[in-house]
Structure formats: C-alpha cells, structure tokens
C-alpha cells in the first residue's frame, strides 16, 4: 500500500508519462483492451466519445445498450442520459459522531449500482478507525463484530468528487472528467482500462471490473443511466457518481437513504437553505488528505 507521499510521487510521474510520451503511453495503455475484444462489438468501437455525440446519436447508443443488457442479462432496463442541472453543485457531508459502521450504505450502493454479486463490490469502504486519528490509511475495512465498538469510530470513504481531481488528469483518452455539477464520471464505453486513474486516486475510490459483472436478472436495478449505474463492461474502471441517476432527478443518493443513523447529509451547496449548506456553515468540517490540494466535495464532521 502507498502512503500518501508515494501516491503523490506516483501520480506526478504518471502525469508526466501521459503528457510527454503521448502516443507511446496511449499504445501501452491500450494493451489491456486486447483481452476483451470478444465482449466488444464494432459499433461500440466506432462509438464517438460521449461528449461529442448528438442527441440523436445518444438515443441510438442508449437503445443499443438497453438491447445488449436484455440479451446478456435477460432484463428490460431503461438507460437514461441525465444531464447536470443548472444552478446545482453537489456536496456531501457525513457526521462521524453518528456513523456506527454498520455498512448498510455499502449494501445499498452494491444493489443500486448493479455491482458484480460475486466480488460483492461497492463504491464505499467503511474504515474502522482508532479514536484521535483521521489517517484513512490506518483504517481497517475487514472488521466483523457488533458495531459501534467501544473506542472506535467509523469512516466511510467513497469518491470525494474532488474539485481538483487527480484521477481525471492522468487519463490518456479523456474517458473520465468532471461535470458542471461537480460529479466526476467515467464513460465506460470510452475507458480503455489502463487503470492510471485508479492509481492516481488518493482515496482508493475507483474500482476495476476484472470480470464481466454477474447479477441475477431479478436483482438488476432497471433504473439506469449511461454515466452511472448501467452494468459496466469487463475491463473498465468505475466509481461513485453520487447516484447521479437519482440525484440529478432531485432524489437523495441510495447510501444516504439506507443509513439507519442519519449520519449522511447531501444537497446543493448553491441553495442557501439546504441542509448541506447549513452543515458547512455551522459545523467544523474536515476533508481527507487536505494537504494534497484535491479539494474534496465530501466533508466529515463531529458533533463535538
């Protein structure tokens, strides 16, 4: 495991690689995709970058993906293209005095986002921490005893949707970027699976699909979107999107709704009357690894 200093060095190195080597790095980065050619079709290869598609082309892509899901997974799903709302900047805050480490948020994420059942993947890791330390690298994710345990606190970590995201900068093909509402997304059809972004993330918040995700048809969440919870192909990187298929339609993210302790606060920071704004203005909030200058949009606080 890297300590944060090493992560920074590595990130800088990778960035240099990506920009100076240009085409060379690109070719190396393409290598992993060779293994997955049987699961990609020609149309998919020819698909332009998501951000360049016209609305008619997007409709065609979505229809194709829906048909593919039906064929591969035996389930009718709706894959929407949901754009950021004007006047909305998302932020998340988590009350560490309330969180008891029960992992209900992890379960909810697993289901909502159509994660592979076998690996039990999810975008949230809950770290069991010793009192007095906010160093996430020292947290344990594998605890398995009744919670909250005495003298411990629990630190759920997911994508921090950094304002200054190190992950998007190292992508050799611009398959990951930050949207105007602050959410960092991945175009899974554009991602080449080089995993530079995964290495660059100081919060270990990105995941790689080693296998084709397997989910029984009945368990698939059919309410999907292109940039978030549609079933990802094998060989691409994925991450928390603040459930943009819900939140961009005004709903609360799945992890928040599942929290039995009420520790999670979500909303639009541009709205002065929002809960998130109140927390940022009235609680002493922390961000993880502040020294890296990533400027997370994910905040932590204690009651006292």
């Amino acid at each position: 495991m890297n300590d944060s200093k090493d992560t920074v060095k590595r990130r800088v190195a990778l960035k240099v690689l990506a920009t100076t080597l240009g085409a060379g790095a690109f070719a190396t980065a393409l290598a992993p995709i060779q293994q997955f050619t049987d699961s990609t079709n020609v149309q998919e290869w020819l698909q332009k970058h998501y951000r360049e598609l016209s609305s008619r082309e997007i409709r065609e892509v979505l229809a194709r993906l829906e048909a593919e899901t039906k064929q591969k997974y035996g389930r009718e799903v709706t894959i929407q293209d949901i754009r950021p709302q004007a006047g909305v900047q998302f932020a998340y805050a988590l009350n560490l005095s309330l969180c008891i480490g029960c992992r209900r948020c992890v379960e909810a994420c697993h289901k909502e986002n159509n994660h592979d059942r076998a690996s039990h993947n999810a975008y949230i890791r809950v770290l069991e921490m010793e009192q007095g330390s906010m160093d996430m690298e020292r947290g344990r994710a594998d605890y398995d005893h009744p919670v909250r345990a005495d003298d411990k606190f629990y630190l759920p970590v997911q994508c921090q949707q950094c304002e200054n995201p190190p992950c998007t900068k190292v992508c050799p093909v611009e398959a990951t970027w930050q949207e105007p509402d602050g959410i960092v997304v991945v175009d899974y059809n554009w991602c080449i699976g080089c995993r530079y972004c995964e290495a660059a993330c100081p919060y270990h918040a990105r995941r790689f699909n080693w296998r084709k995700p397997e989910i029984p048809a009945a368990e698939i969440n059919p309410n999907q979107s292109y940039l978030s919870n549609r079933i990802r192909p094998q060989g691409v990187v994925e991450k928390c999107t603040f459930c943009l298929h819900k939140t961009r339609q005004g709903q609360l993210p799945a992890c928040l709704e599942a929290c039995p302790t009420g520790a999670r606060v979500f909303g639009n920071i541009l709205d002065e009357s929002s809960s998130i704004r109140w927390v940022l203005e009235n609680k002493r909030v922390y961000v993880l690894k502040e020294e890296l200058g990533t400027k997370p949009r994910f905040f932590y606080f204690f009651d006292k």
């Binding site: 008891i100 029960c102 992992r103 344990r140 605890y143 009744p146 109140w278």
Partner: protein
C-alpha cells in the same frame, strides 16, 4: 426557512406514515406539513407542472415526518391471519382517567411488564401526563398528544433538535430537491426508544470480499 404546503400527497414511505398534523412550537421554526392522504383536489393543484413563475415556495413538495405506530399502540406477540403483528391502541385498555404514575418500572404489570427504563435522571412524570394515559406533558405543564413526542424530546435535547431541524440528525429519504418531490424524515422515536434511548448496536453487513489479501488490514484496494 422554508414553509411547506399542506395537502401534498403522503409520499410512499418505507413504513406508511399515519396522517396527522404536527404543530411545532419553538424551538422548531420549520413548519412540517404531514400528508393529508387522498385529497385529490389539493394534489392536482400542487402538482401542476412547475412553471418558470411558480418555482417559489408554492411549488415545493411536503416534508413529512414518519409516525411510528408504537406511539399510539403497543404490539402484542400475536400475529393476525396474514402474519402481521397485532397492535393494540393505548385507549383500548386505558380510559383517560387520572393516573397514579409509577416512579419506576418495577411495579409495572400486565402488558408493559417487560419495559426497560434507562433515560438519564428522568421520572415517568417528566414525560407522561398524569391526567391522561394516552398523552404526554411538556415541562411547561402543557399536555400534548403522543404523536407530538418530538416536541417533548426537543425541550431537553436542544442541539440534536436543532440539527434535526436542519437535516443533520435523524436521516431522511425521498428528495433533496423539494421542487421535484417530497421528503420523509424519521421520528426521534424511530431510532430512540423513549424509555431507553441509547442507539442500539448493529451487526454489520459482511466485510468486503474484494480486498487484496495483502491489504486486509487496510482500506486500500491497490495491488
């Protein structure tokens, strides 16, 4: 502060909220409207598609507070023919006569015999109205309905009540954007038993399986 419209439809809750109107006196400035179910006219009026001109408060959906059923009824161990727990309302057994409130749980008999009490230095009469079994009493002497129990909690737990009012304690579900849909907030008693309010311990959901073996002891997912 937002002021929310009345008569918006009850959102579909995980647990069906009971229709009731909570009136909040200070310290709760936020007016919570609880859904009046089945009022079709009101529903149609409020749900006219929001136009540019109607994005003010009038277009906002309701924030409702979930009403735990046990506030006005106790559950028996019985289940009905459909397997649902049988609940008995307080007034089924209690008329509203004068109460000789016990000072502890020791002499509680009958259906309440198993009650556990551990709530600071409180006395039974700190909360129960000695004149009515099915009502509570504020420190001011004012008698309030069981369903208004949050007002009672708020008078002794200011910081949590304030945080709750701002959405930072107690949790919610539904919509963050009230222009687009309703929000359901939990009741203090959904999470804290008024007699033994300490939040219970949970068995956690299973630990992650995708941690590389070498890093079991940490949160890192790197090779």
């Amino acid at each position: 502060m937002v002021s929310l419209p009345r008569g918006a439809p009850a959102p579909h809750a995980r647990r069906r909220p009971r229709a009731a109107t909570l009136t909040w006196s200070a310290p709760f400035a936020l007016a919570f409207a609880v859904g009046a179910c089945g009022n079709r006219d009101a529903r149609e009026r409020i749900f006219a598609p929001p136009t540019e001109a109607a994005t003010g408060d009038a277009a906002l959906h309701a924030v409702t507070i979930h009403q735990p059923r046990w506030l006005e009824a106790i559950s028996t161990r019985e289940t009905d023919a459909l397997g649902r727990p049988v609940e008995v309302r307080c007034e089924t057994c209690h008329s509203t006569q004068q109460l000789a409130l016990p000072t502890g749980t020791a002499n509680l008999r009958g259906p309440h015999a198993a009650m556990h009490f551990e709530h600071g230095s409180n006395q039974c009469a700190s909360c129960h109205d000695p004149a009515h079994y099915n009502r509570l009493r504020l420190a001011t002497g004012e008698s309030i309905a069981m369903t208004a129990a949050m007002q009672l909690c708020a008078q002794c737990h200011g910081p949590q009540a304030r945080d709750y009012q701002h959405g930072a304690h107690g949790g919610m579900s539904g919509y963050w954007d009230l222009r687009r849909g309703p929000q359901i907030r939990n009741h203090c008693a959904d999470c804290h038993d008024p007699h033994a309010p300490r939040f219970p311990q949970f068995s956690p959901a299973p630990p992650p399986r995708d941690l590389p073996a070498a890093h079991r002891a940490s949160g890192a997912s790197h090779e």
